[in-house]
Symmetry: C2
């Protein structure tokens, strides 16, 4: 599936996917605030108006990019989890850490994409839909990770009910602060240490 429309053809064949892919690359390089619909169309080799067959306006295109990025991030987290299989307490704890680290690593290496996802560029309706599926993939991964810790008695009981919300907020917060230069990068590991300690994980 090429991005550029083949020369001399009229129909692209996969224009919607190509638009998203090109837009993603351009956001990755320049930031969402500098994305231009015309430039995306040009990159794909199509006239600007062609995009309007798939998205009513530029903002929807951006939301489309966001939607795909959330899927990709979940893929990444799934992959991170699968590196530490098994029922042992040790494995469960490793998964918890891996989950946080995957989030941070992705954000660090793709700051512009991270900003697009969490920086208010996606329409609020879309974000709210994300919540409602906060039975979403990523959320569920975290839940089951904490369930595993609980199963091996490896997380403080009184705190368990706050587990998801605390972990998510803390990891996201540290990540965002570091990515934007408000905390030094080295502090991320300390945050994970502190988070585990405070949740009573691994002790």
């Amino acid at each position: 599936m090429s991005l550029l429309k083949p020369r001399g053809t009229y129909h692209h064949g996969n224009l919607q996917a190509a638009l998203i892919a090109a837009a993603t690359q351009m956001v990755r390089a320049n930031g969402a605030e500098h994305l231009s619909l015309r430039a995306v169309a040009a990159e794909v080799g199509v006239s600007p108006s062609a995009a309007y067959h798939y998205y009513p306006d530029k903002d929807s295109l951006i939301s489309g990019v966001g939607q795909e990025l959330f899927e990709r991030l979940a893929d990444l987290q799934e992959a991170a989890l699968s590196q530490f299989p098994g029922k042992s307490a040790k494995a469960a704890r490793a998964r918890f850490r891996a989950l946080g680290r995957a989030y941070f690593d992705w954000a660090s290496s793709e700051a512009n994409l991270f900003r697009l996802m969490f920086g208010g560029f996606c329409s609020i309706d879309f974000a709210e839909a994300q919540i409602k599926r906060q039975e979403s993939r990523a959320w569920n991964l975290l839940c089951s990770c904490l369930d595993d810790l609980q199963a091996s008695g490896d997380i403080k009981k009184t705190i368990r009910p706050y587990g998801e919300i605390l972990s998510w907020s803390t990891v996201h917060g540290a990540t965002a602060l570091i990515v934007e230069g408000h905390l030094p990068a080295a502090s991320f590991e300390s945050v994970l240490d502190g988070l585990e300690l405070s949740l009573g994980i691994g002790k």
Copy 2:
């Protein structure tokens, strides 16, 4: 100090401050990504080129806005703290909560300004300068708040070293997620509850 240049005058008198004030209002209303230098100048009643006497380009103007916002946020937090004076454990704990709530309340009511501060719109140099003064005002407020808790034996000793970084990350993370619609607003109080519980505050 009026923003609009008085009719029939040539020198504004306080152009720099007026530019920042006008830019802040426009970001507040439309978001930093839609700020226009020309519009700011027009709002102030001055020609676009006048701004270049104070800022080398538009991005520096935006960073200037950010700089002032950080000061304002610290003011706000200071005010929140001062509502619960005293050396009692109860007061210390109230201060801790007030600090988090002030952060969240500000961000909720000023989403666009919050984004400007933490969404990658300020130049990275500026953000790094902020870190180095992470002996900055807001950071120091948090430190002394935790010191007070420690003094009354109201925070788990082993966790104390992570206190600042954990509290900041968690509160910022929850705030950012809620502001962008990725978590329901109601969950902020739960996050504070969970944070206190996990730090061993108030028990």
